[in-house]
Each structure stands twice: as structure tokens, then as C-alpha cells.
Symmetry: C2
Subunit: 461 residues, 2 copies
């Protein structure tokens, strides 16, 4: 509980209208895109770095937790107030401060919606590639805090690859700037990348310098349907060996295909083991040739059907099947546990086999889709959170799937973060010593454990 | 001084032949590519992670400094034993452990020479782009520790953009693994990027996972000669606005051109204010067209001469002028102080003007060249380290040039690191609070200050 006198001080800082105390209001800031929710003690909606700095100072004086929050679309629990405290809603700080066309840099506040920024830069012939599925609602600040990925990461990299500099309010209430408008910088430790993906535990990000690139001239989309999963996986490897780096190399497994087809009736073959959706972009002259080579290569390697979109409408149709996945799978069961393992690309077939075996052993409904180019798979377990027996089996299956990923040289999280959902498993990957290094950094920078407590560091493996 | 009994223990760990105690031997490990040198107490040449771990344990027990060292080609003093101690020479750990063509990953020990790795991967049609000028002698371990850059960084990024994972011996003598064979990973803090560029102060890197990319099909090189520096700078901006991202966009100023021409007689015009060397790479069909557009654009924007290399011989000739720079400038004066500031690309003309003004005020001989695409300039002050009056003026000029870079939104170091050379100026850029954050991390991870003491943290601004 936050004391009344502290709330009074906070009101003075941000104004009455930006402090939410009613239970109804607070409920709206206690959830994210995971199936759990918590009630914060208070919600504060600051409009400036200085307001945030003052609140962090108050937090250190009165020892209450602060939970930074963007749009609450996270999939690992990063913005959940698991120990109560004050949620800092950053969506009022939503200005694009500058789009510097000469230096190809955007300077933004954390509350800018990612899609909004993308529209603004594309209007100028520029491109900000990271495209998490949530991009139409999620904020850049949240994307940076979680180091969000997306389908285009295969060619263009993830959020971290575009963050050049940050303004950060530290856990002890100081304001620092890291990096800035230079592409190259090796001045001291790489704090920019340390804060990126630190899930709100090391600082509150209040300004972001993003690298932009020229907008590619054109793109071309293909869909390849496979009778055998292994053939799809081999095609992925061979495309890359050919020296072609597609923007996206999405994969959907048999169960995903069935769910989508039953839901949307797009004409997907119900007996296919895998579908690849491949998009190439670049200069017009190049992509025509590349799309042709990709199509031929897929056909030569077991694809029983390859569609090349010749019009924007055909392109939309191909993507429609991928976009329908989330809506389709929740038709099966009310709860969707969305995982996010990543393995070396060559291990995809083995990982898919292991996932299916685990699901079958625990009698769970599982769909697998994801970004095959990166080896980043999203196994989604379809279940009912009100069925305790099933949820117990889900828990066990999740433990096993993480173990399988790490055994195959992979990682617990490709792009969603650790948050609360994967915290119990962190040491599986980091080991005790790696965990200690991370925890030492947290304790050194946040001695009072103010920022986002209960995240990342709850490993019980 | 290291006690005799400790040396005995170290001999047991690595074998007598890998412990160097004579002054002659130790002298060989006390310098790098900066103009200063120190004498280490001992040089140890381990061959395994376990040997290194044991030595770090001994260092914590007996409290002696450890200085990790690659090939000693650094330009900021990162491998200098400024407080004595034990130099750990990593060049015996020089195995390429794996080139995984399917996953496009190389796994190497730190002592592998960068050029050697590049040859091995290029033989397989793959590409490891980072190309610091020292690449024929410098090691990957040193490149990672300093986050080395190079001319190709404009298109391909710097070392950090290729490091996927590390094995590290921590300052307290534990072995951890970060990242690995997955391109995407957001499991806890980004220790991979924290260690990359940490200049041997946070850990000793013992294994490196590097991302590879397909080798570009072809390249094309141009040289454009400008009567006016501003025209050269404007051309750089316009090339990028056209959506062309050359591999390299090198710039040489008038004084550099004169030094090179006087030394090598390559036919460079002595009255030009700037030369750009531009290289594009990619599919053959694309680069012919891009090279044509770049040439036209340079001509339209003030270039009085544009050469497009049509043969490998002509390409070599263009690069010869750039490669001659280092040898040419030391003909003028015996000592070369090589700086490494980086500014937003659009600030290059203003930065060059300020640099010339500073040099003229302190009566110093200055050449400026560097990577214009990145805004990364290497002002080299030509002087004589045995002339104390001149060296005092050099010191003052360096302070001013760092201030100018930071004022223009730039950074002290684009690719050389802070080491000892720029340590006095660190706070200029980080501010007191940013400096404290970095120092907290150092103290938390290296409580006994074992690893590379006297580096980075000596700011007296």
C-alpha cells in the first residue's frame, strides 16, 4: 500500500488527473497479454522525464515498487505489477520528437505506437523494420524494454539492432543519456544494449534514438505447401545457402494449418505438414529474380504447391492465413499459452518432433508456427485456464519444452522476454554463474529493488 | 610484483614454457599501437579456458592485476599493463572450432586472427564483414573486447553486430556462456553485448559465436575528387537519400591527399579538398546500376573527377591511396596520434572545420580521414613524442577535439575504445551519472578490481 501522504506528493508532481486510485481504473493496468493479472496500488501517468525522475526519487525514499508500462501487450508478464506498487503508464509521452532524414535517425518518446512511427517514416521513404505482431498497439518504449522481434527480424534484425541511444531514468532517480545520433560508438560499456531488453528492471526509458534505413523499393511474397515438414526445413536452409536472405521465412505446422483452415476456409490443404510463407524485398529488378529462384528451389525440394503473389490482393491472401493464426487457435480452447523458444535453424525439425512428442505425452493441444529463418518457434498450447488438471499438465510440458530447446543449443526466449512467465526457468539457460552476473548488475544499479521487482530473477530450477 | 610462490603455481597451471619472466620477454608484451609502453610483471600464455579460470582464481587470492591481450594492435591502450600485473596472452588459443554452414555461424577461440577467419569463411561462400585496419594481425578476441569497426561498418555494422554468444571467464573466476547459436535471444540481460566492447575489464573472452552472412556476389569501387569538402559531404548524404547503402564511404581531406601523393605519387590532385572512395557490393546486376547512379550523383554535386574501377587492377589502384595513408603520414613526423571521433553524418563538414581550426590554433600538423558514411573521422595529429612543448599542445588540442565532437552530438570513440588514451575524457560524454552506472557494474562484477585496472575509469573532467 502506498501511504496517503505519498500519493499527495505524487499528485503534486503529475497533477490530480494523472493519478488513478479507483479499483476500476487500477484493474485496467494490472494485466498484459499473458493469462494472469495483478492489482497495482496506484497508476501514474507522467508526461515528462522530470516527473518520472521525481517519482523514482519518492520510490527510493518511501520504498515502493515501480512498474513501467507501455501498451501492456507483452507476452511474458514484463509489465505486470506482481508485487503491487505504482504502475507508470508511459503512453502520454507519445511524441515523435524528430525524424532526421539526413542522418536517418528518429528520436521518439517511449509511448509512440510502433505502427504510427512506421507510417511516419515510410511517408518519407524511410523504414523502421522491427514488426512485433502487436505493432499496431504496442509502444516503442515497450518494444525496446523487451527487445521485441517480429517476422522481418530474419533479414533486418530485432529492436536492439535499431536502438542507437537512450535517455533513461535510473532506479535511483538520475537521468542518463547513452549513445545518440552516431551509428558507431564504443565509449565505455554498451549501456544502450544493456537497457534494451532489460524489461524495465534497470531503468525507465524516456527517450529513444532509432536508426532508420531506406525503404526497400518492392517486395514479393510466396507460399509453399509441403507434405513433409523436413522438406520445408531443408528448403529454408537451401534458400539461405543460395545467398538469398528473405525478409520473412514464416512456418506453420500441420495443426496450425488445420486450425486456420477450419476457421477461415482459405483453401489450405488439411493434409499438409507445413507451409512456408516467404517474402523477399529490395530493388524490383532483384526480387523478381530472387522470387523465381526461391519458387524453383521449393518445388525441387518437396513443395507440392508454390504460389507466387502477382498482385497486392494475392499477397494479402497469403498473409491472411498467417494473420488468422491467433484468432483461429483460440476457437479451439479459451486459453492460449504462447511460447517463444529459439533454436539453431538446422534444429527446427528435431525441435518440432520433440514438441509434438511432449504435447502428446501430456495430452495437450499444440500448434507450432513461427519464424523459421531465425529458428524462432512459437509453440502455442491451447488449454483452459479454469481446468486445474490440464493447467498442471501445461506447466510440466512447458518445463520440458524449455529443456528441449536448451538441449538443442537454443534459448528460452527469442523475442518475448523472461518477465514472470519464464523466470522460473532462467537458470536452465544461464547456469548459476550467469544468473549471478545478471543479479549482481541488478543489485548494483537498483539497490532498493524499486524497478519492476519479481521479474527475471525468480529461477527455481 | 608477483611473489615467487605464485609464479610457481602459475607454472604448474600452464607449464614452464608458457610463463615468461625475463625482462626482454616482458618488454614484448608491454606495448600496443599507442605511443606508450609499460612493463608487466609476468606474461602467461594459456591454452584453455580452464587454465585461465585457475589463473583468475589465483589473482583473486593474491590480488594481482590481469591484463588480457590479443595481438596488441589496439589504438586506445586497452591491452597495456598500466599497473603491472600478469599479461594473459591469448594467441595460443587460436583454433577455429567450427564453421557451421547450415546455421551460418562460426565458433572460434579468441586468438584467431581476423583475416584468417575471413579467408576460411570466404572459401565457403560466406562472409564475416568487420574489417578493422589491423585485421591481418589483430585477433577476433581483441576485436570483440574493443568492439572493432572498419570501413565496411557503414553497410554491415561493427563487431557487436556479429557476436551471437560468448564464453567468458568472469573476474571472480567463473565460466559463463552467453547467447549461442541462435540469432534471436532475449533471455535475461544482454551480457553478450555488455562484454563486447568492455575492453577486458569485465571478463576474459575464451570462445566466440559469430554470425556469418552470404558472401556478396560482386563489388564495384569508385573514387570521386572534390574541389570543395562541403560538396563531398553533400554527396555522401545524397547517396544515402537515394536509398543506396555502399559498403564503404571513405573520406580523405586535403592534407591527407597531399601526404599520400608526396609519398606514393599516385597522381592525386594536390589542390583537391576531399576525395571519397565509394564501394558498392551485392548482386552483379544491381551494383552496375548503383555504381552508375553514384558516379552521376557525385558529378552532379561538385566532383570534378569520378573514376569507376573497371578491372581488379583499377580497384586496387583506388584502394592503394587509402591504404598508403598510415605509412605516408608518418613520413612527416615520427609520432602519429590517431583519434577516432564519430559525429552525426550531417555534422562532418562542421567537424572538419573545427578540427582544422583547433590544429591551426595549436600549430599542429593534422590529417583527417575516415568513414564518412558513419560520421566516424580519424583526425591524426602528426608530432614528435620527444618534443615536450609540442606534446603539451597535442594534449590540449585532443581535449578540444573531444569537446567539439560531443558538442556536435558525437562520441569520443567510434571504434577504438576508451582504454587509457580517452579515459580522462569519459565523463565529457557519459556525464557523472552515466559514469557512475558504468563504474557500479565494474565494481559489482569485479570486486577486487582484478581485470585490466586503470582502463576506462580515470576521468578527470
Amino acid at each position: 500500500m502506498i501511504k496517503e501522504e505519498v500519493i499527495k506528493e505524487i499528485r503534486k508532481v503529475v497533477g490530480d488527473e494523472n493519478v488513478l486510485v479507483s479499483k476500476e481504473d487500477r484493474l485496467c493496468y494490472g494485466y498484459d497479454s499473458t493469462p494472469v493479472a495483478y492489482l497495482p496500488d496506484l497508476v501514474v501517468r507522467p508526461s515528462s522525464t522530470e516527473e518520472i525522475r521525481t517519482i523514482v526519487e519518492l520510490a527510493n525514499r518511501h520504498l515502493f515498487p515501480i512498474i513501467p508500462r507501455g501498451a501492456g501487450t507483452g507476452l511474458s508478464g514484463g509489465s505486470l505489477p506482481v508485487e503491487g506498487g505504482v504502475v507508470i503508464d508511459l503512453t502520454r509521452m507519445d511524441r515523435i520528437l524528430e525524424i532526421d532524414e539526413e542522418n536517418l535517425i528518429a528520436v521518439v518518446e517511449p509511448g509512440v505506437v510502433t505502427y504510427h512511427l512506421q507510417q511516419e517514416v515510410e511517408r518519407r521513404g524511410l523504414f523502421y523494420p522491427p514488426d512485433p505482431a502487436s505493432l499496431k498497439t504496442s509502444t516503442i518504449g515497450g518494444n525496446v524494454a523487451e527487445c521485441a522481434g517480429g517476422p522481418r527480424a530474419f533479414k533486418y534484425g530485432v529492436t536492439r539492432d535499431y536502438v542507437l541511444g537512450l535517455e533513461v531514468v535510473t532506479p535511483t532517480g538520475q537521468v542518463i543519456e547513452t549513445g545518440g545520433k552516431t551509428v558507431k560508438s564504443v565509449t565505455g560499456y554498451d549501456l544502450t544494449r544493456l537497457y534494451t531488453g532489460s524489461e524495465g528492471t534497470l531503468g525507465i526509458i524516456t527517450k529513444i534514438y532509432l536508426r532508420l534505413i531506406p525503404l526497400p523499393e518492392a517486395k514479393k511474397t510466396l507460399m509453399a505447401v509441403y507434405g513433409k515438414l523436413d522438406d520445408a526445413a531443408r528448403s529454408v536452409t537451401l534458400i539461405i545457402k543460395e545467398g538469398i536472405i528473405p525478409v520473412t521465412l514464416e512456418i506453420m505446422d500441420d495443426r496450425t494449418i488445420q486450425c486456420v483452415e477450419n476457421y477461415r476456409h482459405l483453401g489450405l490443404p488439411l493434409d499438409a505438414e507445413a507451409i512456408l510463407i516467404i517474402e523477399v524485398d529490395g530493388p524490383q529488378v532483384l526480387i523478381e529474380e530472387q522470387a523465381g529462384r526461391v519458387a524453383a528451389l521449393c518445388r525441387d525440394n518437396g513443395a507440392r504447391e508454390v504460389k507466387v503473389a502477382e498482385t497486392e490482393e494475392e499477397r494479402e491472401q497469403i498473409w491472411a492465413s498467417r494473420r488468422a493464426v491467433s484468432a483461429a487457435v483460440v476457437q479451439i480452447k479459451p486459453t492460449k499459452i504462447s511460447e517463444d523458444i529459439s533454436v539453431p535453424r538446422s534444429a527446427i525439425p528435431e525441435m518440432v518432433r520433440r514438441l509434438k512428442e511432449i504435447a502428446s505425452r501430456y495430452r495437450l493441444d499444440l500448434v507450432i508456427f513461427g519464424h523459421a529463418g531465425d529458428g524462432n518457434l512459437h509453440p502455442n498450447i491451447l488449454c483452459d485456464k479454469n481446468d486445474p488438471d490440464e493447467m498442471e499438465r501445461v506447466e510440466k510440458a512447458i518445463g520440458e519444452l524449455f529443456r528441449a530447446a536448451v538441449e538443442l543449443g537454443g534459448t528460452l526466449s527469442g523475442e518475448h522476454g523472461i518477465g514472470t512467465m519464464k523466470a522460473p526457468y532462467l537458470k536452465l539457460e544461464t547456469g548459476e554463474a550467469g544468473y549471478q552476473v545478471m543479479q549482481s548488475i541488478k543489485s548494483a544499479l537498483d539497490p532498493n529493488n524499486i524497478l519492476n521487482p519479481g521479474k527475471i530473477f525468480r529461477s527455481d530450477i
